[in-house]
């Protein structure tokens, strides 16, 4: 029963990643694309946590933390690049 609820949650999260990928593809400027990338990286943290719960390995939570740090640094760097240039 509870595993079915987790499967439903994983499929809804994958659907949200797909919807924000559409905005990533057709966003009119650099700014919209980096907004979509921010939302996708934060959703990816939840998705990696779901994978860790399904495979029952705690080491995947560390991977989620490192993925979140890399996504955050990437968003900050691209935003500063848009504002001031290299």
């Amino acid at each position: 029963m509870a595993k079915i609820l987790l499967d439903i949650a994983i499929s809804i999260t994958l659907l949200s990643l797909l919807v924000s990928l559409i905005r990533f593809i057709l966003g009119p400027e650099k700014v919209n694309r980096i907004i979509a990338f921010d939302v996708m990286s934060v959703s990816g943290i939840a998705l990696i946590a779901y994978v860790a719960a399904l495979s029952q390995r705690i080491i995947y939570m560390d991977i989620a933390l490192v993925y979140g740090i890399l996504g955050f640094i990437g968003v900050i760097i691209v935003a500063r690049y848009i504002e001031k240039g290299l």
């Binding site: 029963m1 509870a2 079915i4 609820l5 987790l6 439903i8 949650a9 994983i10 809804i12 999260t13 659907l15 949200s16 990643l17 919807v19 924000s20 559409i22 905005r23 400027e29 700014v31 919209n32 980096i34 907004i35 979509a36 921010d38 939302v39 934060v42 959703s43 943290i45 939840a46 946590a49 779901y50 719960a53 029952q56 705690i58 939570m61 560390d62 989620a64 933390l65 979140g68 740090i69 955050f72 968003v75 900050i76 935003a79 500063r80 848009i82 504002e83 001031k84 240039g85």
Partner: protein, 131 residues
């Protein structure tokens, strides 16, 4: 029997979090403006990720430290990234939508010319690009 009900509660919390994630990216697709997209995307995805991690905590109570580290990390870094994105979008001249009624940053910059001079020095690149 008790353990089963605890896991069902966690599953319902996780489904609520994933519904928040889905609504956030749906707003990302439908909003008319870059600033509205920042608003819906970052706030809804913050709440959705925190609810999903809190739902998974009911399945694995032994992983409390990892979940708390991830929740605190998302709670700290997501407002910073949305602030930096909104600042970059405003100073590079991304247009507001037509339905905008008030732009308080533009009004305060018109009142105080010294701040505008500082901000022009910040965003010289885009003005050269517009010319």
């Amino acid at each position: 029997m008790d353990n089963n009900w605890i896991e069902i509660t966690g599953g319902i919390l996780a489904i609520g979090g994933s519904i928040f994630l889905f609504l956030g990216s749906l707003g990302l697709l439908r909003m008319p403006d870059a600033y509205n997209r920042i608003q819906t995307g970052t706030k809804a995805s913050t709440l959705g990720t925190i609810l999903s991690l809190a739902g998974l905590f009911f399945f694995f109570p032994g992983w409390f430290g990892k979940f708390m580290i991830l929740i605190l990390f998302v709670l700290i870094t997501n407002p910073i990234s949305s602030h930096v994105l909104a600042r970059a979008a405003y100073f590079t001249g991304v247009p507001l939508t037509r339905k905008t009624t008030v732009d308080q940053l533009n009004e305060s910059l018109n009142e105080d010319p010294s701040r505008r001079a500082h901000l022009r020095k910040v965003s010289t690149n885009t003005e050269e690009d517009k010319i």
